[in-house]
Structures are given as structure tokens and as C-alpha cells.
Subunit: 243 residues, 6 copies
């Protein structure tokens, strides 16, 4: 597989249930991809209005600042509201419409593990279904744009508990100091959330532990929804075990 | 990750319990890698002397012919003999010595699934342990060569039953006509085994089914022992679901 | 267990989300059962109106032709429409009402694996729940017909990805030439779907691979929702491993 | 599948690590099969010499009495001795030789679950491997008898902990009073073991619980090593859920 | 961990989908906790109006009598009605409101295993989500009471099929004669349900089997939603294997 | 369960394959238990003679210093030597003899996960089997001491990869500054191992991540071999989810 020159690579599309989910779950990966020239587009499905801290207005400002730091465009959409998300076909179709509009190669969504914030696995399910619906030619609600098939759907895990035990992850090396720096700053941009819990430390500790295991500084795990198809084993020349 | 020019890529090292295991399990992958310029080295741990068909002498001739077709060097070693393999440290150390001598990047071994020919999962265990032992500096029996750390261990499945349910595979596209052709011919080189059962048809049917699922002609699944570490999502731009 | 003379056997009831799901997932089994004298009844829950190819009117014609070839009666029902199915109690009750009317022994439904067309696992869930609701005496909406307990619910997998990894399948031998023939023709009757993808080849390749593994020509896997209860081991005198 | 008249059915071959394992794990199934006319052959691989209660001489007498009650022939063999069993190829070959001599259809062995008496899963592994080795034509140590392919290997669980979580069982209905009676008496024949623990009560309670779940009086679960191959769904007309 | 004097221990809160679920699933545990001085509160989410036996009025009387026997307070709520429960955010919020009002330490809910009465796993999901929602400060519908974080959520299994295979249970010893007695009487209080099936025998057999395995008389398994946090291994000085 | 006054509690017995395994895998737990008055006994099964760094003599000195810091007694035994361990009955019997001599309540052993240093899971298997063999009255080699039944076997994970995915852990809170301090110093006592890799940082990062998830400072996970038996839910009043 010859790597496509990044400027021509199809954009990356990441979905988050709350204004800070993408940053906390896989912000370092976003930073790395945008620094390498790939366009990134965020879709945030609530304004965090059920959280213990921060007003919706503050959350929107924080999310915009954070996305700018990561080099991503940002769009808010309304589904059922924070802590109220349900799995409805209408939602999946709305997300499929966005997929047809953005036409991404890679899609990122929160993992399907049930034992976490209920909005996370539900959004993961909706995105997974939306990736399929975006391909079907006969869906009335989607006629505005031509069908689109993405290349790969990866799940990110907002917390360690959300890592799906049945899927072998791929690890993205985010050790470069400028990547770690921008990721940290992007997480800290969600200042209302940092007040009460050690979210930033949790994520950096997690990435450090992944990195120590893989023989790099820090790493973030992504969980592929379907097996990767490779042209050559040259694409897999590094593995994740150093202890 | 910039692909290393193939001529400089470290060799691929594949282990087989019987003279035809590598060809039936992942011969198409070998053909693809050697055609792309990577050196391949086979280690065969018996002469098939317990099989229902073919003499050891015939099996050795067939294996040499088949390896030549695939562009691989071949070496036979003695462990406990066909259908007699046991998991012993002495065997793992012997394999670790070979790893230190060949100094491969990628290692291929039969999968660990127990419900198959008992030699297969035992060789898989021995290779997995050997990859580790090859790294430890203080092992007396291995002092002849400096420690060596491989990059990745992949398991291949000689039959569909041997595919490990708990590991997400990577799929290697082997659809190119010349690759399919050389793989088929290499399998047919094991003529004594083709007599009684439809082994060649089994493997081509299996690769065709994988290919149909992945939207390519034929594909072979390999199962990574450890998570892949990637520098960029550009390395994963294709996925395996087309239905 | 003395086999009940087939003419007295309770009918088989198969549910499909789309006009071709039953045929592609387990058409060979249907052919075998109807040829042996068992009545078969299909319930199709959409007209395929979201598919990329074929109009609903064409799909209905194809489905009727295909069911006739397989010797099954066919009934279309409306739930939420193609690609719009949701898990609602009202739907499960509707299916339970059909179960009370048809009074089947064996029920077939698409598998519960999530990573496939979203309508498939949702219909599978609805059918599973409906089999239970059909037994409860006090449900207001079901009073028209007396409660009915089915004997066994089997899941079929429309694609290989839909095969549930946690359930040991039973394999049905569909090697007889007249069975293979009628199954193939029934799949080909869905001509609008055959245009773009190799669906028929996918299913025959899959059944051939199962057959090669089991030492028969072709075989189809069904996945029991609950353990089978047997009177004697004489009912299990063949097993599925030949390699 | 027409049931073979029992007198012509190939014999059932059951392996036990200790003199009472077969009776406690699946004695009711044995009783049912022998009463239906199938020959049963027991191979016991130790004399229970490491147990807390009973001398080897007492255990042999008890085992013979119990086998007679169940209608089975009995043979003791020596492997490594009670509580000393190891997984060695020589043992698997010895068991394979017995398989070639007895030429069974169905084979029963203790389950592979590791967290039980260590002799149990090791014997299970040896029997599984022996079933394969018995089929291979070129094994020097087995030349005395022609190769033999069994029909199905089922695992029994000596205790509830030994039930393998990943295999869907088949349940054998052992509710008939004469079957329950002979099973109970056969377990009680191991009088030295009954002294200290409630083994008989454990097994009857377990079978009663299985029976209550399946809508019959008592049932015993067997775990197939490979998928069952069926000619018709008529063989599966009962299932195991009644609550 | 110094055990809190029971009278000061926060109450136990148990949810049931039907009037008898708590008693059949874990009544012995309730009896034990209330006898030790802990307050228990039951929330029953239907009146059993879809059952084959018993009128809603009878079921309410039975449930009240049974709760009184177990020493628990009882509250009925309306969600979608018996056999009609759906997973809706509005329901989870209603349950979260109850959690904020009762302010329990331990919460009990039916397990999430899908292959049982559909109301059970859905209520389990709703309770799990409610435990989380009860903690979030910004949820409009919950403003009446301050946020509350429970200590642990345990699942109970109404039938053996409902025991979740992926969670290691903790076993509660309910062997004391007065505990067994009150549990039995509380189950028998649901006289309308005892008529048709052996529910009481099923549960006592199940607890006896658990007890036999653990070396006690009778035991009930609970399945923790999250790992237990212990101060000392002294809290874990007994384990569950006696055979 | 009334906690036994610690001075009367039976000792804790921990097995390690190499001189530093216990400290790196669960040293904080040991520190906590010995500070609370429980006796701890370490059995180390090699002198680390295959490691890349440190001589056996250095390793023994380091291990003794570390055990002293943790308040544990230490004993070295010879099995097959570092990186050479095999699963042999003779080894299990040797360990069982130690269990009969030390007569522990709780036993700690490395986890059974295969994809780690091969000595670790093999020692784990040997300890698990030894715990059983120690109970059997008739084993000739063990006659010197009376049978002994331990209370619980917990597995520790030397690295994150060694954490068994199928067992729900219990988390031990090791946040107290004096506990963290002594654990760190005990790990650092293995100075020859600290040179080349960040072992100490790996373990502290891992415990910090567990702690962040559980709402405490640092925590260590232990994996019970069998379900815990509890007298009361009061023993489980804290759980591990804070995000």
C-alpha cells in the first residue's frame, strides 16, 4: 500500500457524545493526523448540559478552542441531549447524512462497551449503523448526497473501562513531544471538567502505560470494527510488546 | 512509517510442523512478500513421517520444490518427530537459536488453537516462547549469537478450525493472478497429500470466502500475537467488510 | 426420539428482514425440510425498499418466486420499513401473534451479531423475545390465539460475519444435488440483488467450505438459541471435523 | 438420519482418570445407552491411589461393580498414576491404540477445563489428541490395527466447575425412573468415596437442576468437541429452556 | 475495612421487573441482610399482569406479604407494564430519582443476560444506567434531590440461564436454617406462580448446588458490575471450591 | 465475617518464578498485609540466571533485601532454572509440600495468561495444581505433613499483558503513603533490573491508573481463582468505578 500523500487523503471524521470525549479518548491521534496534513472533522452530539460542571455555553467555547488546537473543524448537532441519547433509526440516518457529506476515509466513534456513560456506547452503535446506511442506495432520507463507503471504523475508549476486551487494538505512537504537548493542551482546554477529577492525568497515565508496554513513550489504542486489509506485511513491522 | 525498501527489510521466518503446513496455511502471503523482494526462510520440524500418505523422502523433495516456487530457503530440523511433538524448553531454545541466527523482522507460526493436529498448537507455543527467549541475554544455551528482538509474530491457521476466535486478524490481499497461481502450484507440489483429500480446494475456497468478504478476489488471514504499533492511520486505510 | 412422520411434524417458521435473507442465509435447509414433507412458512418484514438495487414491487415478485421454489408459503408484514427497524415491544408482540397462529416447532431467525445490517440482529432479538411472549398467558394483545411454546429457535447467518462466535452450531448437510440445485435457483430468483455483488457465489463458497470441513459436499450452519435435548446419543452420530 | 438399530451401533468408549469419574460425570447417559442396546467400554487410567479414602484394591472392586451395573465392560490401564498424569505423546498413542482396537462411534472424556483435578483436563487433552492420532496412517506405534475415525467426541464434566463455558452442550434426558435408579446405585457403588463428601447428592442435584431448566425430570449435559452434523432438523425437535 | 455497624449501613435497594423476581433471584440474601440490621427497599416495576397465572391484585398482595417476611419495604412503579418494558431514558431517569431518594449503598438488579424474560435484562440495563445518572449534577429531571453515588451494583439471576458467564460471582452463604426458612416462605408467598412450575424447587436446588460446590449448605451468587475494592485480603478469606 | 485478628490469621504464601516477580506484581499488597500483622512467606523458583542483567548472586542479595523491606520471609527453591521451567507433576508436588509445611490461608501466584514470560504461567499452573494436591490424603510423596486446604488462590500479573481477561479482579487499595513508599523501595532493591527498563515506573503507573479508576490513589488488582464466599454484603461496600 503506497501511503496516499496526506493532502489527498480523505478526511478523518470523529464523533463525540460530549464536548470533550474525542479529546480525552483519542486527541493525540487527531493531533498526529492533522499535523501530517489530513483534514479532521468533529461532530459533537450534545453540549454537555447534564454534566456536574460547566454550562453549555462554556462547553461550546471550550470545545471550539480545543478543536482549533488539534487542527480540526467542529460541528455540533442535536440528538436527544446529554445523558438522554437513545438508539433511534432517525439518529443513525442523521449521522449517515453527515458521512455522505464529509465523505471520510476513517471514522472514529466511542466504543460499544456498555458499562460506561450510556451516551457513549449508544453513539458508537449509531455511528456503526450510520456507516452502513451511508452505503445503501435506496434510503429516502439520504437522497441528497450519493452513497459513500468509508474505509475503516475505529472505536476509541473514553476511559479504560471502555476498552473492548474482544477486539485486538492497534496502537498509535503519540510520543513526539509536540504531539503530547498539543494533546495535553487540548484536554486542558476543557477547563470546566478538569476542576473535579483528574481526567487529564488519567489519560496521560493510560497512554504512558500503553507506551511503556509498546516500547515507545506514549501510545493510544484504537479498536478496529473490521479486520484490516493489508497489501504487505511491511505495513505491520512493529508490535506492542516490550516486557 | 516509511516502508523500508524491501531488499533491506529483515527476513521473514516461517515455522511449519509438517512439510506442507506453511504452504497450506499462508503460502500466498509468502509468495507476495518474496515477489516484493523480502527474503523468506522456512523451518520445517518433521518430515511428515506419520502421515497416511507419502514417504519422508518424498515429502522432503516436495517441500524443497514448493519452497523454491515460493522463493523461500528451507531448513529441516528434528524435534520429536511427526505427531510426537511435545512442549519442551529444549525445543524452544533450539528455535530461539534459529531466530538469533536468521534475525527476522516478522515470524510466522501455526496458531495456538488446540482442536487441530496436536503438533500445530505445540509448535505455535514453542515459537511464541522462542521469540521471547531469543531476547534474554543470560541464557547459556543461546550464547553463540547475540540476543534478537523480532518485530511481530503472526499466527497462520492451517485449517479454518485453527483460526483463533479471540484475535482480530489482518487480511493480506493475495488476489493478483500471479500470486494466486504460484500459491496454487506450491500447494500442488505436495502431490502425495493431494491424493486423498481436497486440501488445495479447501484453501482456495477459504481464501475466496475471505476475499469476497473483504471486497477483493482472495485474501489470507494472519493473527497478530500482539497489537500492531502504527505511526499513522494512513497504514490502515482499508478494511474487511463488503457485505 | 422417534422422528415424527414429517407430514405430522409441526411447521417450520422462518423470519427474514428483507426479501432475500432467508434464502441467502439458510435456503438449502428450507429446501431439505420441505422436500422431506415439512411445511415451511416465511415472514418477510420489509420489501427491501432501502436497497441499492430493485424496486419493492420487483422484490416482492422475486421473493414469491423464490419461496415457491423452496416449497414455502410467504407472508409480508410491515414493521418500521427496510433499514429502519427498531426493537419495540409492539413488534415483538406482532411476531408473537404470528407464532401463535402458525404454531411452529422450529423457528429460524437472523443471528444477533451486531456487526451486520442493523435490521438483522434487531429482527433476531424481536423473534427471540416473541418466542417467549407467545408462551405467556396474560398478554392482552395476544388473546386471539392460545399460548404456544415452540420447540427450538435456530439463528441463521446471512453473511459469514453474522455467525455468532459463542454458540456451537449444528451443521445441516445440503449436499444432495437436487437440494443444492433448488437452493441455487432460489437465490438466483433474487435477480435484482445478484447484479452488483457475488451473493450467490458467497453463499455457495461458504457452504462448500463448511462441507469440506465436515466431510460432506456442502453444509449450512444453524446456531441453536438453547441447548438441544436429546433422547439418545444415536441422534448425534456424525460430527464436523475432517481435517 | 435413520437411527441405526442399536445392536449394530458402534460401541461407546468412555475414558476416566479415576475409578469413579465416568459414573459421577455421565453415568446416567451410559445407563441409557446400554439399556438401549449399545455396547459400552470403560478405560480407567488409575486406581485412585492418591485419594484421601479407599485403597486401590477397594477402588478396583467398586469400579467393576459399578461398570457391571451400568452394563459396561471395564479395563484399567497405567499412565502416570493417580494425581501424577502428564500430557505425553506416549500416553496419547496408547489411548489411540485402544481406540483402534475398540473402534467406537462415540467417545466420552473428561472436559478440558483447567480449574479442576489436574488429571481430568490432561486426560481430556490426551483423548482428544488420541482421536486424531488414531486416524493417521503412518504412525509407527499404531501399526497393529488399521486407522479408525470416530464419529464424535463428547466431554463430560465431573463437577459443575468443569463445564466448559464456551461450548453449547447437548442435554440427555435421564429422567426415566429405572435410569435414575441404576445411575444412583452405580455412583453409590463407589462407597469409599461417598463417606466424606456428598458426591452423589451433588450429581443428582446438578442433573435435577438441568432437568428443571429443560422441562424434564433430570438431564445430563455433554459438550461436543466439534459441531454436530445433522441430516434433518427433525433430529433437534426439543430444546432446553422451560423458564 | 471495618464493617459499619449495620444500623448505620446505607440501605440496600433491590429492583424487580415482576412481583416475585427479587425473591426468586436473591431472596435469601435479602433475608440475611435485613436480619443483620440493614434496611432493604424493593422497587417492583410491574404487577405481573402478563403472566399466565395470578391477577395483578393477587400479585400485589403476594409481593407485599413476601417483602414483609423478608423485612423489606416495597414500592410499585409503572414503566411500560409487564412484558412490555423498553429501554428508554425516561425510565432510567425515574429509577435514578428513586436512587437519589433512597440513597443506597448496595443496589441489586436482574442480570443483563439477553436470553431470558425480556423485561429482566432491560431492567438491568436501566438500573445500571440509573446508577450513573444519579451521580451527574446537571440533569434537569433529577434536580429535586442531590446527586448520589452508590457503592456497588450487583446483578442477581432469576434463573440459571441468567447467570452472566463473563463475570466472576461472589457467593453469599445462606445456609443458616432461619435464613433458608424465611427465604422459602417468601418464595411460597407467591402462591399464584407456584401452581404451574417448580419455581421454589428450582431455586433451592440451585442454591444447594452452589452450596455443595462451596462447602456450605446453600449459597446464592451475585455478580458485581465493577471490581470490588478491598482494604485487606482478610475480607476474602474463604473461597468457593470444595470438589 | 468477623476479621480474624491478624496475628492469628494464617500466613500468606506467595510464589515467584524470578527474584523480583512478587515485588513487581503485587508488592504493595504484601506490604499492606504484613504491616497489618499477617505473616508472609515468599518462595522464589529461580535465581534469575537467564536474565540480561544481574548475576544470580546479585539477584539473591536483592531479593533478600526486598523481602526484608516487605516484612516477608524468603526461600529459594530449584525447579528447572530460569527460562527453563516445565509443567511437571514432580514440581507441583514439591510446591504442594511447601503448602503443607507453611499452611497458608491465602496463596499468591503469577497469572495463567500465556502471552508473557513462559515461566510465569507455568508456575501459575503448578501452584494451582499444588493447592489441590496438598488436599489429597493418599499422595505418597506428601506423607510427611498432613493435608492442608488453603482458603483462596489469587493470581497477580507481573505485567499488564498478564492480567487475565476472563476473571473479575478484586482491587486492593495501596494508596497509603507508607505502603507506596515501601513498595517502591522494595522494587528499587532489584537494582540490576532497573538499569535497562522502566519497570518501577511501569508498576507505579499501572497502580495509579487502577487507583484513578477506583477513586483511590493507587490500587493493585488480584484475580481470584474461585468465587469469593461472603457472609455479608457489608464486606463488599466499595466498588471500582469512578469515571
Amino acid at each position: 500500500m503506497k501511503p496516499i500523500p496526506k493532502s489527498e487523503a480523505p478526511p478523518l471524521l470523529a464523533f463525540g457524545a460530549h464536548p470533550d470525549d474525542i479529546e480525552f479518548g483519542c486527541g493525540g491521534v487527531i493531533a498526529k493526523e492533522t499535523r501530517a496534513g489530513r483534514a479532521a472533522h468533529f461532530v459533537i452530539c450534545s453540549r454537555g448540559e447534564a454534566a456536574s460542571h460547566g454550562t453549555p455555553a462554556q462547553r461550546v467555547i471550550e470545545a471550539n478552542r480545543s478543536a482549533a488546537l488539534l487542527g480540526a473543524r467542529l460541528e455540533f448537532i442535536e440528538l436527544d441531549g446529554d445523558a438522554h441519547l437513545e438508539v433511534r433509526t432517525a439518529h443513525a440516518l442523521k449521522l449517515a447524512g453527515i458521512i455522505r457529506r464529509v465523505r471520510p476515509g476513517i471514522v472514529l466513534a466511542p466504543s460499544l462497551v456498555e458499562n460506561q456513560h450510556p451516551d457513549h456506547p449508544r453513539l458508537g452503535q449509531l455511528v456503526r449503523d450510520a456507516c452502513r446506511l451511508a452505503r445503501y442506495g435506496g434510503i429516502r432520507e439520504l437522497r441528497r448526497a450519493p452513497p459513500h463507503a468509508i474505509e475503516q471504523l475505529f472505536y476509541y475508549a473514553v476511559t479504560p473501562e471502555a476498552e473492548p476486551p474482544g477486539l485486538t487494538p492497534v496502537l498509535i505512537d503519540v510520543s513526539a513531544p509536540e504531539i503530547l504537548k498539543v494533546w495535553t493542551v487540548a484536554m486542558e482546554a476543557h477547563a470546566t471538567q478538569a476542576a473535579s477529577r483528574n481526567y487529564v492525568e488519567l489519560q496521560l497515565t493510560r497512554a504512558r502505560l500503553r507506551g511503556l508496554r509498546a516500547g515507545v513513550g506514549h501510545a493510544i489504542a484504537l479498536f478496529p470494527n473490521d479486520p484490516l486489509v493489508l497489501d504487505s506485511l511491511a505495513q505491520t513491522d512493529r508490535a506492542a510488546r516490550r516486557f
